[in-house]
């Protein structure tokens, strides 16, 4: 049996696009049938949005809250597993999943792995691939004796499912006691001095710049080469550059970027979430094993200060 259950994610009434990537992943993993779950008070409104190619069935699970609530979502997924006995349950490796998926794993009833980017079925057993040691090593993981396996899947790994289908739609009840409640969403502050999502050429700096005093040198370099200055999270967290310059999961996706120069950035998954789509990525890093090199087109294993000092002379 290789029935796969995909838990769709939504926020503020919109389907999060990663849900469609999971549907594609389920299909590619060889699912005999794909069931998509829509959890939440108004989630049934998203039925059309997930009726894409490859979906056999949609199950809505109305809950008390319209927004994500971890206790309700956990109860919903457990009810879904009880009702459909899927062999694999896929959730996005997202902030909401981090808020409740580990609770499913911790029941001990299911196999469980997070941030999975490879999924295979070997003779009826699921084997998944994830990274370890800051992405320098990959691991194959299996789940001996578990008839249902729950995984959170890395975004940006599969192309979103497209097209349309007419899946059967049904509804399932699940009850839960919520131990936390939504107060409000807080929107990020309006874009600061610059909108990096519009920039075509980005020069981004990471923790490799070492000190706040060094920001200026790279800011001048960005001007000289005609790039917009961006950064990884530690630079913004330290207040060395405004948050509006941060590229990544909790920052901005540089949607219009065609050329991305990453200086002293290791290439964490969360940074990559904002830039790995860029066609031309160039990385400078002293660590030849830094994972940024795995997505770069060109790489320099070297010191960003030495390179920066020389590079600027070609743009004077």
């Amino acid at each position: 049996m290789s029935d796969i259950l995909v838990i769709a994610e939504h926020r503020q009434g919109e389907l999060r696009p990663v849900s469609l990537e999971l549907i594609a992943a389920a299909k590619e993993a060889g699912a005999s049938s794909v069931t998509v779950a829509l959890i939440g008070a108004n989630a049934a409104d998203l039925t059309g949005a997930v009726s894409v190619e490859g979906v056999d069935e949609i199950v809505t699970v109305p809950t008390a809250s319209a927004n994500f609530q971890p206790d309700e979502w956990k109860a919903a997924v457990e009810a879904l597993i009880a009702a459909r006995s899927p062999s694999l349950v896929m959730l996005p490796h997202s902030v909401d999943s981090w808020g409740f998926a580990p609770a499913l794993g911790a029941t001990g009833n299911y196999g469980f792995a997070t941030d999975v980017f490879g999924i295979a079925n070997e003779g009826g057993e699921w084997v998944v691939t994830r990274a370890m040691y800051k992405e320098k090593v990959h691991a194959e993981i299996d789940f001996p004796g578990k008839s249902t396996v729950v995984v959170t899947v890395r975004g940006g790994t599969w192309k979103p499912a497209e097209g349309s289908s007419s899946p059967a739609v049904s509804s399932l009840d699940a009850s839960a006691t919520a131990n936390s409640s939504h107060v409000e969403f807080i929107e990020p502050p309006a874009t600061g001095d610059v909108d990096i999502t519009q920039a075509e050429f980005m020069l981004s700096i990471g923790r490799g710049i070492a000190e706040e005093d060094n920001v200026e040198q790279f800011s001048e370099l960005a001007d000289a080469v005609g790039a917009t200055l961006g950064c990884s999270r530690p630079i913004a967290d330290s207040g060395w550059l405004p948050k509006s310059r941060q590229v990544g999961q909790s920052g901005k996706v540089v949607a219009a970027c065609k050329l991305y120069l990453a200086l002293g950035i290791s290439g964490s998954v969360q940074h990559q979430a904002g830039m790995k789509h860029v066609d031309n990525i160039i990385a400078v890093n002293t660590d030849p094993e830094a994972s940024i090199f795995s997505i770069a087109r060109y790489g320099i294993v070297g010191d960003i200060f030495e390179i920066a000092d020389e590079l600027v002379t070609h743009f004077e």
Partner: protein, 264 residues
Amino acid sequence: MKILVAIKQVANLDDDFEIRDDGKDVDHDFCDYEINEWDDYSLETALQIRENNGDEGEIVVVTVGPDDAEDELRKCLGKGADRAIRVWDDAIEGSDQVAIARILTKVVEKEAPDMVFMGVQAADNAYAQTGVAVAQQLGWPHAAVVNALEYTPGASTATANRELEGGLEEKITVNCPAVMTIQLGINEPRYASLRGIKQAAGKPLDEISHSDLGLSDDEVGEAGSVSRVRKVFVPEKGQAELIEGTPAEQAARLAEILKELSGA
């Protein structure tokens, strides 16, 4: 008031690391260790709550890890934690995060704190599981990826901001006691003072095993896990074309590439 902070010692691989003979992990001789970055922020969160509580209350740090991990506990004691617990024995080797969570859960049950802080994720393997897994096993309320927190010791609820994707945040209220996973940037972690470091040497650091916590052999290690590492391997290198030469030569070639690709 008591706050429990769980910390992990994370591994950084040396350039020339090797895979262990059984193929299931890297050889730990090729690792350098440091405290998980996220745990600095969660310890700081606990320290600030105590400061705002008229310096009243106890902060206990706990780790599940071998001898070396003691260094990180001492650093936390140096920053102001009162007491440390290290859980380890051979049977714990090979535990996944669900089994690690089971051990931490027993420690929490024993200590009965008002609040448990853990990191959002550990920098090495980025599981992002352990905090919510502990909450599940305790049956406690929880909140993940907290980047702002209002909590008064003894209060029945706390207000937390969850950091969502794209800079959006969600303000929630959470029943207490609770387990929270703390996000980078929630505060500015302090450094240990010289005085603090001296004092740390005299603070209690308990070493216990899984059986001291009342756990059986099959509740830890591989037997107590819901996943198993079958093998590890070095991924194929990406397509990056390396620019070789002296820094001057590399920069010259980089300049050409930038000019060509940016259309300048």
